[in-house]
């Protein structure tokens, strides 16, 4: 009896620990204590290129140049999108973080609310070259309106509809201008027997899914938060917007049900590059993956992601992109500011614009990511005229995870032969809204 209770006690307490440890200590490389002139910054970069290794190869010479100019060493770690948010959370919780890091610009207001990041007040702005060097809409994603931003734009991105020129020509089709045309074209280009589909969707990626929930709802004129920052997920425009996107697989059947397991955008882009699908909706950084998979620049075209005919607003993207933040408790504030200045300099922007296929975040800069003038013009047009910023509220990240995961589940249901009705979409969005409300 005694031995057994001991074993049980040990097991139960070990369980308590394993749960408590979920709140965990991720001992990411923290900055070493400042030892005079020999400064080393820790920099967390997000995955912008074709792979984590590719990012490392692209960034290393750029960082070496920074070290040559300033004498400050940079310790680089590239982090995949599935892990980045959790890594930032644990860093925020433990106070053991990098000095400088990339964030998805849609998280800016949420991360600002934690108070873990250095606000770019007037002095800090001056140190990185003044706020006037940035495109105003890009800088506006840096944080809540009316407060000093806690992040500055680094890479600009926008969604576009990529189409395979040869497939369109063979079927005698023109690139679509409305949602309806896009669906009809996709249906004509779908032939499951030949394993060819009209479109590929990253239907198992909650971050991709939630962007389309946002864009489709925006086309219906619907918002996800009201003026007070309260969630309004269950509005008619939101429900119909989500359903329209789900219907690409459900009703229109232009996407392979297997797409429900595509948990990142690269998988759908690869299908497009390998000519298994005729269209894919992706941000402009898809270019590097498409070319890496053997498709040449002239073989695909890009048009704005179309809204339905008579839509409330011709929104084709959110103001997407990557921002740069500094951890407030960095021991190397000045070095970190120098690094941010360097990364957002015109020279560095031009160097990185091509390998990372990003749109310029600096005023008067020209897109360098493609030699295709029409493509550059399309993305610049979407970024400047057809993009709506995601809600700049602290609960934005919860909107992304709860609504995005709800869409994952709905796609899974469709893929496994079920149907999702408007009522079920509404119920799923209600659950997401309750979760957000419980957390704020």
């Amino acid at each position: 009896m005694r031995l057994r209770s001991l074993v049980a006690a040990a097991a139960v307490s070990a369980l308590g620990i394993s749960l408590a440890a979920c709140g965990g200590s991720d001992s990411g490389d923290s900055s070493n204590g400042g030892s005079g002139g020999d400064q080393t910054l820790t920099y967390w970069a997000s995955n912008q290129g074709t792979s984590l290794d590719n990012d490392k190869q692209v960034l290393t010479p750029v960082l070496q140049k920074f070290t040559q100019e300033t004498g400050i060493k940079v310790n680089l770690e590239v982090i995949g999108w599935n892990d980045l948010q959790t890594r930032i959370q644990t860093a925020t919780t433990s106070g053991q973080g990098p000095d400088v890091l990339n964030i998805g610009n849609t998280w800016a207001a949420s991360l600002q609310a934690t108070g873990a990041f250095l606000p770019f007040d007037d002095d800090a702005m001056k140190a990185i070259g003044g706020k006037d060097k940035f495109v105003p809409t890009a800088l506006a994603t840096g944080g809540k309106e009316g407060e000093p931003p806690t992040s500055v734009p680094l890479y600009g991105l926008a969604y576009g509809l990529y189409y395979n020129k040869a497939m369109f020509a063979a079927a005698g089709l023109q690139p679509p201008k409305t949602w309806e045309e896009m669906v009809t074209d996709a249906q004509k280009l779908t032939n499951p027997a030949k394993k060819q589909w009209g479109m590929a969707l990253a239907a198992g990626s909650y971050t991709e899914n939630v962007h389309f929930a946002f864009i489709n709802a925006a086309q219906n004129g619907a918002d996800w938060f009201d003026k007070d920052g309260k969630p309004t997920f269950t509005g008619d425009g939101n429900v119909q917007g989500v359903l329209r996107y789900l219907d690409l697989m459900q009703k229109d059947k232009v996407a392979n049900p297997s797409n429900a397991q595509y948990d990142n955008g690269t998988k759908s882009v690869n299908d497009f590059a390998n000519k298994k699908v005729a269209m894919v909706i992706n941000q402009n950084n898809a270019d590097s993956s498409i070319v890496a998979n053997g498709m040449k620049a002239g073989e695909y075209g890009v048009v704005p992601f179309p809204a339905p005919a008579g839509a409330a607003a011709p929104v084709g993207s959110h103001v997407a992109g990557i921002n740069l933040s500094i951890f407030k408790n960095t021991k190397h504030k000045d070095a970190a500011l120098k690094f941010v200045k360097f990364m957002t300099d015109a020279d560095t922007q031009t160097t990185l614009g091509k390998p990372f296929s990003s749109l310029p975040v600096l005023k008067d800069a020209k897109p360098v990511f493609t030699t295709d003038a029409a493509e550059a013009a399309t993305f610049s047009d979407v970024y400047n005229n057809k993009s709506k910023p995601l809600p700049l509220v602290p609960a934005e990240d919860q909107f992304e995870s709860t609504v995005g995961k709800a869409m994952n589940s709905m796609f899974a249901k469709i893929a496994t032969g079920g149907t999702v009705t408007a009522d079920e979409v509404k119920a799923a969005l209600k659950t997401a809204q309750d979760q957000v409300a419980a957390g704020s």
Binding site: R4, G23, N82, G115, A260, T402, V436
Partner: protein, 327 residues
């Protein structure tokens, strides 16, 4: 564990005192302190590794620890029982989700523990009589237990993919048992896949424990039984099973606690796209904390889980203990 460490000095003390009377060279102050000094590191580590994190977890469940406060925990406002109220309110979608996840976990644990025990028992008994190559088979059976969890589960993840997975390749392309490629990691099949993978990882432990237990049963009891005309089944039921009772009591409890709190398997198998049918409770709590950055609510759910497991364990020990006394 703490029970054992605290009792030790009391038991040791008389012996020490006796030693002092016998040996004149003992300094009384040091010898009185010595046991405590020797125990101190263990007690300290126990506090550091077990007790303090648990207390912090319990404290977290009573505060509103959202993203606004995680950079400065001490500023988090007191929430009273609010986190618990949300977690147990089944009319609210958060409570409803927790209840559903609890149901999934109960089914998952029950099926996994029963199957793991059956498989472990069958293999242990089958490998009991000596034969050529027995140790090779034993080693083979232990491989899943020896593999790093992540590598093993990740391999399952590849095998269970719909278009490119080995499972569908065998079932659909090679054998033609199924005509349509099923999803194994989405929808209703997810629970089956989860149980399969958890079972694969767990049953070697049951096998190992039962095999060790079998070695302690004297062979002559079996010989006597077979002289009396007892068949293999009868021998198993009347000799093996009762002799293994103490082993089984601990084994089943440990298997249950492990499966009920399994985190690695769903986390690695499903990644960020976990299906509702595979929504185990630890994973659910992780999501409740990390997706919405609401660590207070997640801690409250953890404490509820801890209370539940302590009640189950207590009841289990009380019931089995009473039976052993009666026997």
């Amino acid at each position: 564990m703490s029970v054992a460490t605290e009792q030790a000095p009391a038991e040791a003390a008389p012996g020490v005192r006796a030693a002092r009377k016998r040996g004149p060279d003992h300094r009384p102050g040091l010898s009185r302190k010595l046991p405590y000094l020797l125990l101190a590191p263990a007690v300290l580590l126990e506090l550091l590794i077990h007790i303090i994190p648990m207390l912090v977890g319990i404290w977290m469940s009573f505060v509103k620890l959202t993203k606004f406060f995680i950079a400065n925990w001490s500023a988090a406002p007191w929430a009273g029982l609010n986190n618990y109220r949300i977690a147990v309110d089944v009319h609210n979608s958060v409570g409803e989700g927790l209840l559903k996840s609890f149901g999934v976990t109960v089914v998952f644990s029950a099926v996994t523990v029963v199957l793991a025990w059956c498989l472990g028992m069958a293999a242990a008994v089958a490998l009991q009589p000596p034969f050529k190559g027995r140790s090779a088979v034993r080693t083979l059976f232990l491989v899943p237990y020896a593999l790093p969890a992540y590598a093993g589960i990740l391999t399952w993840n590849f095998m269970l993919q719909r278009d490119t997975g080995a499972v569908n390749h065998v079932l659909v392309d090679n054998l033609g048992i199924l005509s349509d490629r099923p999803f194994w990691l989405l929808g209703g099949n997810a629970l089956t896949s989860l149980i399969t993978v958890a079972l694969w990882r767990l049953w070697p432990f049951a096998f190992l424990t039962l095999m060790a237990g079998l070695q302690s049963i004297p062979q002559d009891i079996y010989e006597a039984a077979s002289v009396d005309g007892a068949g293999t089944v009868r021998q198993w039921r009347n000799i093996t099973l009762p002799s293994l009772r103490p082993v089984n009591l601990v084994l089943v409890l440990v298997l249950f606690l492990w499966t009920f709190s399994d985190f690695n398997t769903p986390y690695v198998l499903f990644g960020t796209a976990q299906p509702p049918a595979g929504d185990l409770i630890t994973f659910h709590i992780y999501n409740a904390s990390f997706l919405t950055w609401n660590f207070g609510s997640g801690a409250a759910m953890s404490v509820l889980l801890l209370i539940f497991l302590m009640i189950v364990t207590g009841a289990y020990l009380a019931v089995t203990g009473r039976r052993s006394r009666r026997a």
